[in-house]
């Protein structure tokens, strides 16, 4: 018991202190939480806080559940509708380019079809956490293109939910078409039932949650989220999508904002451990084997993001500065890529996916913000004629 407590406390502290170093120079926390896991894990010399990553499995899963539960809570079709068709267009262009490019890249790697599907998502979907934080810290919230950037992130979140739901049956160990179809059917049924509950049945969930008392509300929504995730896992739908749907249902009970406020500190703490636990599984010795693919993936992502940023800017008649801001801000990769890698490793896919995504996220989660902060000077290298600026508000 004492050992476990030392490991757990050490993990929190190591993750927090290392991320604080990064914070000081304006870098996001996610890559540092993961890095702490690598450094204090079993694969590196020196102090190993945790020998076996499985020791932290339960708390790490709790972090995953809370990340997705919070995403479900915040998820709002209203945000999407408010942005209009143009925003949807920019999001679709972004996803088409990046997920499509990621899928082709994954297939070209030749690690396998299921691996390619995971890589498509890991490369194609930006980190909402990093993008949102960047906009606030770089003081760009008042820029006209920032709404577009946040809109792209909303479209990506929606895509992630659908993608997660459909990915799990693919990841499962289905033998033959019949079994695969059955798993698909089960996943689809679960998705439909939960969405229907969110849409029409929130009054059945409402009695579970009492909004008058923060303490009891916390205990009950946590129970609901973890239980739904567990049931989803048992049905072969993945705990991630179960937690997301639980968030969706709670958001519809009218207690969404209160729960969001209460879940945030819990999410922050356990998500840090989720990233830390992912880092534990990474052996820096494997980095050499995946360095080539990672370098190629980073260059591909950079090119596709700049292209998508340019297209989005053209669609909205923004100037070259805005084009650079869009492309370089949505470059950040983080929690979603790591969640996908965790699911893939858990499903027994090609073991190279773990170190590949870890290194890829490390490069882009740190490089992305550094580039985004310098988007002004960078944008001056873009010929003005590409972005004839039209006056707008």
């Amino acid at each position: 018991m004492g050992d476990e407590l030392v490991a757990l406390g050490g993990a929190f502290l190591a993750a927090g202190l290392l991320a604080r170093v990064g914070r000081r120079v304006g870098l996001p926390t996610i890559p540092f939480f993961m890095l702490a896991g690598v450094v204090f894990g079993p694969h590196t010399p020196g102090l190993a806080l945790v020998e076996d990553p499985d020791d932290l499995a339960l708390v790490a899963t709790l972090g995953l559940i809370l990340l997705l539960f919070h995403l479900g809570l915040e998820f709002s079709l209203h945000d999407l509708a408010a942005g209009g068709r143009k925003l949807l267009g920019a999001g679709a262009v972004y996803l088409g380019l990046n997920v499509g490019g990621g899928l082709l890249f994954g297939l070209a790697l030749g690690w396998g079809g299921r691996e390619a599907l995971v890589i498509a998502g890991a490369i194609g979907i930006s980190s909402s956490a990093i993008v949102t934080k960047l906009l606030v810290e770089l003081r760009r919230l008042a820029n006209p293109e920032s709404r577009l950037i946040l809109g792209i992130v909303v479209v990506e979140d929606i895509f992630l939910a659908l993608y997660l739901a459909l990915l799990q049956p693919v990841l499962g160990n289905a033998r033959g078409a019949g079994e695969a179809a059955l798993e698909f059917g089960r996943a689809a049924a679960f998705l439909l039932v939960m969405t229907a509950i969110a849409r029409w049945g929130s009054q059945w969930v409402r009695p579970l949650l009492d909004g008058r008392d923060d303490e009891l509300l916390t205990v009950c929504f946590l129970g609901f989220a973890v239980l739904t995730a567990g049931v989803a896992h048992e049905l072969g739908v993945s705990e991630a999508i179960g937690a997301f749907l639980a968030g969706l249902v709670v958001a519809e009970t009218g207690l969404g904002e209160q729960v969001e406020r209460l879940v945030l500190p819990l999410r922050d703490a356990f998500a840090a451990l989720f990233f830390f636990a992912f880092g534990l599984t990474i052996d820096p010795g494997d980095a050499g084997a995946v360095a080539g693919p990672v370098a190629a993936a980073v260059l591909l992502t950079l090119a596709l993001n700049v292209l998508a940023g340019g297209l989005a800017a053209r669609m909205h008649s923004f100037g070259r500065r805005a084009a650079a801001n869009i492309g370089l801000t949505v470059l950040g990769r983080g929690e979603f890529s790591l969640i996908l890698a965790t699911l893939a490793v858990g499903a027994g896919l090609d073991a190279r996916i773990g170190p590949f995504v870890a290194l890829y996220v490390l490069v882009l989660a740190i490089g992305g913000p550094l580039l985004a902060a310098r988007s002004g000077p960078i944008s001056r290298t873009i010929p003005t004629r590409l972005f004839p600026e039209v006056a707008h508000s």
Partner: protein, 160 residues
Amino acid sequence: MSIEEHDLPGIGRRYDLGDLDGSRVSVVIHHGGRRDIYLSSGGDSEPSVLSLNDRQARQLGAILGGAYFQPAVVAEIEAAIGGLLIDWVTLDADSRGVGRTIAELEIRRRTRMTVVAILREHTTLTAPEPAEALHAGDQLVIVGRREDLAAFTRHVVDRG
């Protein structure tokens, strides 16, 4: 002045105040209560940003709205709205006005201030009649111009 309102998903709401004296001003209200005021002079220059927490933002808003007051010191409360002063004064047992009616004191004619309410023990008299006599301990809510406050204080509140 035109104000545009926008949703910032995952962050909060943004209000764009259009063109103010050649600058663009935007206010961002975060879900967590933080407020950012962006001031940019246009072009590629970096904006100036002022970040406030909820309490600071409300105080600044009250000052800008001309209704700033600090509730902790009720006796000193005053609020100025476009040169108009609203003040609270408390009468002592030996104040000049105690025991006389508003009409007798000719408050409005002699001080150009108006007593709009009297807080007496646990009751509140709004728009008191001229025949209302003032008591020791009364809190008078008065309205007038700032420069007339001194005359009112001398005539009604000071020791007789």
